[in-house]
Amino acid sequence: MANARALDKRRKSIRNIRKITRTMELIATARYKKAMDRAHAATAYTDQLTKIVSQLAAAGLQVSHPLLEQRPETNHARMLVLTSNRGLCGGYNGSVLREVMPRIAELRENIPDVVVDCSGKRGIDGLAFRGVETDQQFRNFEDQPAFDEVDKIASHYLNLFITGKMDRLDIAYTKFISTSKQIAKVETLLPLASLDEGDDVGESGITEYEFLPSAESILEEIVPASFKARLFKCFLDAAVSEQVARMIAMKGATENAGDMIKQLSMTYNRARQGQITGEIMEIIGGVEALEG
């Protein structure tokens, strides 16, 4: 039989760990709600953008822009990987890296120059471990990515793309679909596949707008804005997904700790009972020996 005191010690330490994981779960839940609110607030901007694009389309404008055009030859590609700075979030970082590695290999086969950028300490370390060099490293994104910071990265990419130093930009991140479903995904952001044209052209297309200075000029401006909004959306999605992943991982850990405590308590009680029985037997034995 195991030593009752050792079992009790173990049980106590598990109880402490359970306290920690439960707190982390609560923190993750609070952060998730905040991140979710932010992601929700950001939709107002994208909605407005789509509305304007659909107005432009309704005005009979041919949608064409250098950022939308596929380059005839892709010589320089870039991949941006979005991961978290902190661990203890289950398979969140692992699934992004698992998605990214074959993609990088595939790109490297076809394109001479592939550069990988990474946001998040876990991703940087993970990529280094897998032998992938990262060019730019961002560690400043926590649960609430600020647009100003994303804007810097976006402008940098736009400049690279316009000056021809980059022909293609892919982004790997965890897309948030619902609280119970997030998928790691690789998407091509540049050249932009298309501007999301709203379906509500019919309803709002009745009004005739005056375009200042012209529809073309607005389009020229709206494409980069739409790229920035899309990149920002990826960061927000990644942040929300991270918190959800951590919440679920910590919930699992707390439950597991509870189960272990139950198991250990049972063993502990049995061990204690065994010890007491043994002691009683000894006493009875002693008494009987004295009587005899």
């Binding site: 005739e208 707008y209 005056e210 200042l212 804005a225």
Partner: protein, 128 residues
Amino acid sequence: MSLRCIVVTPEKTELDCEANAINLPMFDGSLGVLPGRAPMIGRLGFGTLLLETAAGPQKYFVDGGFAQVEDNVVNLLTERALPVDMLDVGESEKVLLEALELPSNTPELAAIKATAVLRARCQLRSAR
């Protein structure tokens, strides 16, 4: 009759209020909007957004974007909208100096520099 002004940035809806008149900083100068204006979509420049509200004038620095006017609702999409008081002259001057340092050896780089300088100058003007 009054106008409703909604300013949205990628992060959140910055402002949603009523105003009697709005002065928009368009790409080529300011544009006044009074109630009953015809529908319009326009490009914003960098500059000061002026709202004439019942409580007095309100000023915001707007960082490019678009304006949409329809049915007495003015929608502004911009990357950044700050109350003018939040701008700092010293910091704006620093941004301008940084912009002036940018390289301009190719036409593309020159265009990028020109935008950065213009933006910094407008920010400085709003800050003052």
